[in-house]
Symmetry: C2
Subunit: 330 residues, 2 copies
DNA sequence: GTCAATAACTTAACCGGTTAAGTCATTGAG
DNA sequence: CTCAATGACTTAACCGGTTAAGTTATTGAC
């Protein structure tokens, strides 16, 4: 159905080269006569010719595509990141191919390999916990990639993350400033460095304020069944320490489910306690507008990661860029 | 960096053909000696050979990629659809390339053209209002595609949509069954057929119940600035008709912003009125668990659209498949 | 001992573009 | 009038695979 360059060449009895030059806008440069140029362009227009990017990519070695690997596109945070990445990439003439790892390391490896086979020019990856090996391979091959949201301290890779420690620290300090003393910390059982950093922020804020750290105020929710587990553990927490007066949520989905719990059980969040969360969603903004939020610069993360990646693509020897973006707490 | 089939052939002093046969698993069929097969596979393993999909696609004419064009990946509904599409496509051996049209018809056309240039095997499109022409071109070219969520009555295309009329009708009937009489209908100014169908559902429910349709209960929010506009218009509505006792929201984002408005202005939603919404989000499920929901079979939409698309890809002469999936109201 | 069948490969063309290196007729400077 | 420069193309190779159509050497049936 679709017409090829060769078809035009045959139809007009000229060489493929001439057609290629004219249709790629190098007709004048290559001194093709105006008459010939017009003839070719006219034929192309009439028969609705569009170059085949596969063929182009095959010999340029560039697909103008970047791969984005995230835990799940269904998660608002990553969906927003994806959007920013797409917008920025598009501005720079790139397309994005998304893959959701569903937080499964094998799936993630598979997706990375497949994206490489499809010859994407580079990768932006929000890695799961156990992908170190795959990333090491990428490094060895000097395949351009940028980590976002998470990073691995042992690996010299490009990354764009946010300042997790200071985010949660400032947030906790604000809660303390409101006179709260028994501040619970709700987190997950993932062993990502960034999640540990958040806990550090919480502890540091307490230390700075001279409040002793109480491990029983820390709730570690099982990630894989967080909706159910958080209910159990919040029940336990509120029974054991009924006078909790603050909550710090390490992630937005923990905040959402906690708010659901509070709302369902008629626990007045506004007066009894101060809430704080890393990252805001529509739900938390509606249901707990007073909640203190660590705002992640989502647009910046998207833009910067694309920017760094494209630089790395242009210059394979580029020294690693490691960006820790500031967060706004309010 | 990456090794090619040709490199292996040269290194082992054999023809590209032999290597190709062995590495694509047709060594036995093509009677290549075991010794040779082992030698080639060993070399490939050692040098970490992975076939270049561009080259494969170029002569097979198949990229095993489908394009997904949606208004915005940042919208939870489409993000969830995207996820289901990706999962189903992956099961069938396909990858998905997403593009957000940002509800801009020119952008959408551009994305469709670009996906075609990248030789995706087919498209799944949640079209914006004014894309009819681009779709007509696809039809003319018999390029495989499936519309989702929206469709165009004038075009004989594949589509997978849900039963919008009956969804809103049942929902409205349930609200009426709770004794509500002054039921507001909140919608947007888009002229999509599916949105009109929802209004029909509302009207039909009223008619069936013998309640006269009151146009002043219908609020048409300006889509492009809905966050602000909905506040203005809800204010007007509640002033003019203070005894409104029901709300039907045509879309989830309208419900979310309305709930924000109600919550901010301390309007008791539970006793004063019954709420109903087309599609649920995390926010609405937390903040208004009692709200009656038209549940869209998101997973089914994703799966069916992929299924139909792959069929259409295999058989270009396939008669159009038009699916109206049932919704569950509860 | 001959000849067809078969095992084990190779050659070359193709997919749809790009590009370095020709070719040939025309122009114009000396 | 000659020869180099230039205009206007063409040839052929290449990107990295696949595949139809050979090509040998060996086997074995008669």
């Amino acid at each position: 159905m679709a017409i090829s360059l060769k078809d035009i060449a045959i139809a007009l009895q000229v060489s493929k080269t001439t057609v290629s030059w004219v249709l790629s806008g190098r007709g004048d440069e290559k001194k093709i006569s105006m008459a010939m140029q017009e003839k070719i362009k006219e034929y192309a227009r009439l028969h609705d010719y569009h170059p085949n990017f596969l063929a182009k990519s095959l010999n340029s070695g560039e697909t103008n595509t970047v791969g984005l690997v995230i835990p799940s596109i269904a998660d608002t945070f990553y969906a927003h990141i994806a959007r920013e990445v797409e917008l920025e990439a598009e501005k720079r003439g790139y397309t994005v191919t998304f893959c959701s790892s569903e937080a499964n390391p094998e799936r993630e490896s598979k997706m990375i390999r497949m994206l490489k086979a499809k010859q994407v020019d580079g990768l932006i990856i929000a890695a799961t916990e156990h992908t170190k090996e795959e990333l090491e391979i990428l490094l060895k091959e000097s395949y351009p990639f940028v980590l976002i949201d998470r990073f691995f301290p042992g690996l010299q890779t490009n990354y764009v993350i946010v300042d997790n420690e200071s985010g949660i620290r400032c947030l906790t300090e604000k809660i303390i400033a409101q006179g709260r003393k028994k501040i619970a910390y709700i987190t997950t059982d993932t062993h990502l460095v960034v999640i540990r950093k958040r806990l550090d922020g919480y502890k540091n804020a307490l230390t700075n304020a001279g409040i002793p750290f109480d491990p029983s105020l820390v709730v570690e929710v099982i990630r894989s069944e967080y909706e159910k587990d958080i209910i159990r553990k919040l029940n336990v927490l509120l029974n054991r320490i009924p006078d909790v007066d603050g909550f710090v949520f390490a992630t937005h989905y923990l905040a959402e489910e906690s708010l659901r719990y509070f709302y369902t059980n008629n626990i007045n969040m506004t007066e009894r306690m101060t809430l704080g969360c890393f990252h805001q969603t529509t739900s938390t903004s509606i249901l707990a507008p007073q909640m203190i939020i660590v705002e992640q610069p989502v647009a910046m993360i998207g833009r910067q990661s694309v920017d760094i990646l494209l630089q790395a693509i242009k210059n394979k020897q580029m020294p690693v860029v490691q960006q820790v973006l500031p967060v706004i707490v309010n």
